[in-house]
């Protein structure tokens, strides 16, 4: 046992106390350094983070711009309604939640289907509507039961509405919920900040093309939030600016009459004001109700629209490419005059066929039309005249001339996704085909091009555009639907198309020849029955595009299935001397042009020029004179 000296022990204890004191000071210094680091050195950083925690920017989505027709009739508007929304990430068993909700609020099978579709397409963490347009009673009922449904909430939202329903649907298009592809476009336009909180995006038609004009400027509310994300108070607010309104060149009444004139037939009609390029009516039938898409379309409707053999979702006016048939002849004739390949009075003798390279190209009229000059070739739609003309002009001359009229290229209309069609030429064939023997252009192929058959394929808007250029004597305007865009803040109107894009080198006397011949069509030719008794002078041309080759056998409309019947075409402009309207009509499987398409043109022109409203869809004229196409 060691001896203990109390005094020594006390000293040792006191030295240990000193060590402890030193340790305390050391630790406190450590804390002090840490505090200086956080509160002085890193203060700005943490200050920012505290502000980020506290302040939340809540976007205020602007009202989408309206779409109005040329007379101010509203074609697309907004209305406010309550929706019942579920945030899937905040709920455990979705089906159970929806079953529970169905116990208080009417939720039908189609609501569930639509929700399921939205869920598949949704981005993470967003809330999705299970029911829209709740009544006040339904809102009250849900609020009383809200505690039972975490992740479910009622929201007031703006909805798009198309009062005309299916009318003009292919022109207006529709909006739908923002998808990843839409987000890419938003990023391309550097609009991410402006689209915070926006849930809808234009998908087709004008809604798509003018999306960034219609959208408006998103407002922001700066709110102080607590840790639970609840808003405590508003710190600052910037008001949203509603999207610009679009005023169209379209006359919606004309559009309605044109659509109704089709009845249940498929096809397209494009009517253009030649002096401006403004589109007066743009019809593609069948149409569809764009209102179905606004809340998110349910799977059943979606399936029906997409799988229907009538393809109602295809905009035939812009995306259907059809052989122009005989409507091509006036343009051929104009080309011949311009290039000096024919004079108007120069006549040919038509035996009823044209032989070329061991192949016989037949005229529809057995025995032929006799002596045919340019006027007669258009009025009677003589094929032989154009077989010869095509051969004389050659494919590259034809294609170069037609290109000037905008055939085979996009017209630049303010709707996205327009098709190019096919303007055949040697170069086109080289690019189109892979095998060398297919790439070569055969002179025989030029012959049927002359009557608008063969590789020719143009969209109805291209035909209407070319007709408008003819009517406007070679001055070209880009076809457009929007007359002006009105800024809602300043009230300023921006004209979309104030100037012609180009003027073609066409001689007035040549145009006069073609015009007179087209007037003759409606007076004494293939369009005469449809335009009997018209109180104005209309220039026109019928056309029939072959769908199905009968190989020499005679074509009888009743003898083939409907989907194999020929397409009926008609182009026109009126009044012939001072054209206010130019149009192109296509009726799919309508038979020949005079039969199905010309009567529609008559109704449309009667309304536009005289204000006459028809009381029934345009009748198919079964007794109409059959023209000469095979």
């Amino acid at each position: 046992m060691e001896f203990k000296n109390p005094q020594e022990e006390l000293e040792r204890f006191r030295s240990r106390l000193a060590v402890a004191g030193g340790f305390v000071l050391f630790c406190f210094t450590l804390l002090f350094v840490r505090f200086v680091w956080l509160q002085i050195v890193q203060h700005d950083y943490y200050q920012t983070r505290a502000e980020d925690n506290r302040i939340s920017l809540v976007p205020i989505v602007p009202n989408r711009g309206l779409i109005l027709d040329r007379n101010g009739v509203v074609l697309a508007r907004n209305y406010s309604a309550y929706t019942l929304e579920i945030t899937p990430s905040k709920t455990r068993d979705l089906d159970q939640v929806i079953d529970g909700l169905a116990g208080i609020i009417d939720i039908q099978a189609k609501d569930r289907k639509r929700f399921k579709k939205l869920l598949e397409e949704s981005r993470n963490f967003e809330s999705l509507p299970i029911r829209t347009r709740l009544t006040d009673v339904e809102v009250a009922k849900f609020i009383a039961h809200r505690y039972r449904f975490p992740g479910v909430d009622i929201k007031a939202r703006l909805f798009r509405q198309y009062p005309g329903g299916a009318f003009a649907s292919h022109m207006l298009g529709y909006i739908g919920r923002v998808t990843d592809r839409d987000l890419e476009k938003i990023e391309e336009q550097d609009q991410e900040a402006n689209y915070r909180g926006t849930e809808h995006f234009g998908k087709t038609g004008l809604e798509q093309h003018y999306e960034f004009k219609l959208h408006g400027e998103t407002g922001f509310e700066q709110v102080e939030v607590d840790a639970g994300g609840r808003a405590v108070r508003t710190l600052a607010r910037s008001a949203p600016v509603a999207g610009s309104n679009l005023t169209l060149t379209v006359d919606i009444e004309l559009q309605r009459i044109a659509e109704q004139a089709f009845g249940d037939r498929k096809g397209a009609l494009v009517a253009i004001e030649p002096s401006t390029g403004g589109i007066l009516a743009l019809v593609a039938m069948p149409n569809y109700d764009p209102n179905l898409f606004v809340d998110g379309i349910d799977t059943q409707n979606w399936k029906e629209l997409n799988e229907s053999p009538d393809k109602p979702m295809v905009n035939r006016a812009l995306n259907g490419a059809y052989p122009p048939g005989s409507t091509f002849k006036p343009f051929m004739a104009l080309g011949a005059l311009t290039l000096g390949k024919r004079r108007a009075e120069q006549a040919i003798s038509d035996p009823g066929f044209f032989n070329f390279g061991g192949h016989t190209f037949r005229d529809d009229k057995k025995g032929g039309h006799g002596s045919v000059d340019m006027y007669k070739s258009i009025v009677q739609s003589c094929d032989t005249y154009y077989y010869m003309l095509a051969n004389d002009m050659g494919i590259d001359n034809i294609s170069a001339f037609m290109a000037q009229l905008g055939l085979g290229s996009r017209t630049g209309i303010d709707i996205d996704g327009e098709s190019e069609g096919v303007l055949p030429s040697q170069e086109w064939k080289r690019k189109r085909f892979k095998k060398p023997e297919q790439q070569k252009w055969y002179a025989g192929e030029t012959i049927s091009i002359g009557i608008g058959q063969g590789y020719n394929a143009y969209t109805p808007i291209q035909l209407a555009h070319a007709t408008a250029i003819l009517a406007n004597k070679g001055v070209v305007f880009r076809p457009h639907l929007v007359k002006f865009v009105t800024d809602t803040k300043s009230g300023e109107r921006a004209l979309v198309e104030p100037k012609p894009t180009r003027t073609l080198a066409l001689k007035p006397e040549h145009i006069e020849v073609i015009k007179n011949a087209m007037v003759g069509v409606n007076k004494e030719g293939t369009g005469a029955r449809a335009f009997a008794g018209a109180e104005y002078v209309a220039a026109g041309k019928t056309g029939t595009a072959q769908v199905f080759s009968l190989k020499g056998a005679e074509y009888k409309a009743g003898g083939v299935k409907k989907e194999l019947r020929d397409h009926a075409l008609f182009i026109a402009f009126a009044p012939a001397d001072e054209p206010k309207i130019a149009l192109a009509i296509l009726v799919e499987n309508g038979g020949f042009g005079a039969q199905a398409a010309a009567p529609i043109a008559r109704q449309v022109l009667d309304y536009y020029l005289l204000g006459k409203k028809p009381n029934a869809p345009a009748p198919a004229d079964e007794a109409a004179v059959e023209e000469d196409d095979q």
Binding site: M1, K4, E9, R12, F13, R14, R16, L17, A20, G21, V24, L25, C27, F28, L30, L31, F32, R34, F35, V36, L38, Q39, I40, Q42, H43, Y45, Y46, Q47, R49, A50, E51, N53, R54, E224, V225, D226, A227, G228, V232
Partner: protein, 369 residues
């Protein structure tokens, strides 16, 4: 006349009431309490009344203990330790489970947390033990002391309650340290401790490991385990030099700071009073510890010396561990900010300690005579 006598009686009574109270200690503790009331008024005003009641109880306990001579406390050491041990075993067998830990014992009329008692009972017992062995202290006595310490620590750590286990371990270690454990052994323990760290890691519960991982990289899980630390460091850092002002801390008032009236109350204080406030708080703790160490240095017996030294360092441990964890340099363990955090049990334990210091200081001469 009567009035004079009456006054004299009252004055006499008052004098007797305050006589055992050490003025410097009381002053420092009083300032800390004042500061605590202010912070509580900001962090959780609705709890202020309840906390004031806790303060009253704690002060009463302090006053009673301050009068009890250290010798009497020495007699209480063994029974208190054994009772505590018994209760800890009872907790392990029949305790109530709350938040995944078995810490509370339901006695029918009240729920107690026996581990809290051990924070004082362990240093009391060890001080008593070294006093008994004073004249014939051998190396193996340190071994016995270590065993007496580790037994309750192990029981508490098993509950699991890492925060309390660390505090009890520290309290016991301080006694052994002041009793003169050789530096060589301390050094050896440090080396052994470092070597055993991987082993200890395996013994930790998942949530305890997560807390340590979180310390080094809180941003790894900003909404989960890292949330507490991230939000409290943001609160401290955004406070700047003078703070955002009383009740003007956005982190605190908008409830971004979790548990802001208990373990994380320092973040509230620091956000609203800034570095300036922190310095004040550190100074008050330093003064309290300084006074405690002074009392230990002048204490009459080995028992008093060891007890006073250990109790003082417990205050330090509370303060350092709490501020360290809230400011993100120590892992999150359940240790309150001494004298400031809400809660009666911790406050009573702390003032029990103050009472013991006062008793030791008040009786330093009596024993020597």
């Amino acid at each position: 006349m009567n009035r004079g006598i009456g006054l004299a009686v009252i004055r006499d009574l008052a004098q007797r009431l305050v006589a055992p109270i050490d003025p410097p200690l009381m002053l420092i503790a009083g300032l800390l309490l004042l500061l605590a009331v202010g912070v509580m008024g900001s962090a959780s005003p609705e709890r202020l009344t309840a906390q004031l009641a806790n303060v009253a109880v704690a002060l009463a306990v302090m006053r009673v203990i301050a009068q009890v001579p250290p010798q009497r406390l020495m007699h209480l050491a063994l029974p208190a330790y054994l009772l505590g041990l018994l209760l800890l075993v009872a907790v392990a067998l029949f305790g109530d489970v709350s938040k995944g830990a078995r810490r509370w014992l339901n006695l029918g009329f009240m729920r107690v947390q026996p581990s809290e008692l051990m924070k004082i009972a362990v240093p009391l017992l060890l001080a008593w033990f070294f006093q008994k062995r004073e004249a014939m202290l051998r190396l193996r006595d340190y071994g016995v002391a270590a065993a007496l310490l580790l037994l309750p620590v192990a029981l508490i750590a098993r509950q699991p309650d890492l925060g309390t286990a660390i505090l009890v371990l520290a309290a016991g270690f301080y006694v052994i340290f002041f009793a003169g454990l050789s530096w060589k052994i301390i050094g050896g323990m440090v080396v052994a401790g470092l070597a055993a760290a991987p082993l200890a890691w395996n013994l930790l519960h998942d949530y305890q490991r997560n807390r340590i991982i979180t310390l080094f990289d809180p941003e790894k899980d900003p909404l989960g385990k890292g949330f507490h630390i991230i939000q409290s460091t943001i609160a401290i850092g955004s406070g700047g030099f003078f703070g955002k002002g009383w009740r003007a801390g956005t982190q605190a008032q908008l409830e971004f700071i979790p548990e802001r009236h208990t373990d994380f109350i320092f973040a509230v204080f620091s956000e609203e009073f800034g570095l300036f406030g922190n310095l004040l708080l550190l100074a008050l703790y330093a003064l309290l510890i300084g006074r405690g160490l002074m009392i230990a240095a002048n204490a009459a017996t080995l028992f008093s010396r060891l007890l006073a030294g250990a109790v003082t360092l417990i205050f330090f441990t509370y303060a350092f561990v709490n501020m360290g964890m809230v400011s993100g340099i120590l892992p999150v363990v359940g240790v309150p900010l001494p004298f400031v955090s809400y809660g009666g049990t911790a406050l009573v334990t702390l003032f029990l300690g103050i009472g013991i210091l006062m008793s030791i200081h008040g009786h330093r001469m009596l024993v020597q005579k």
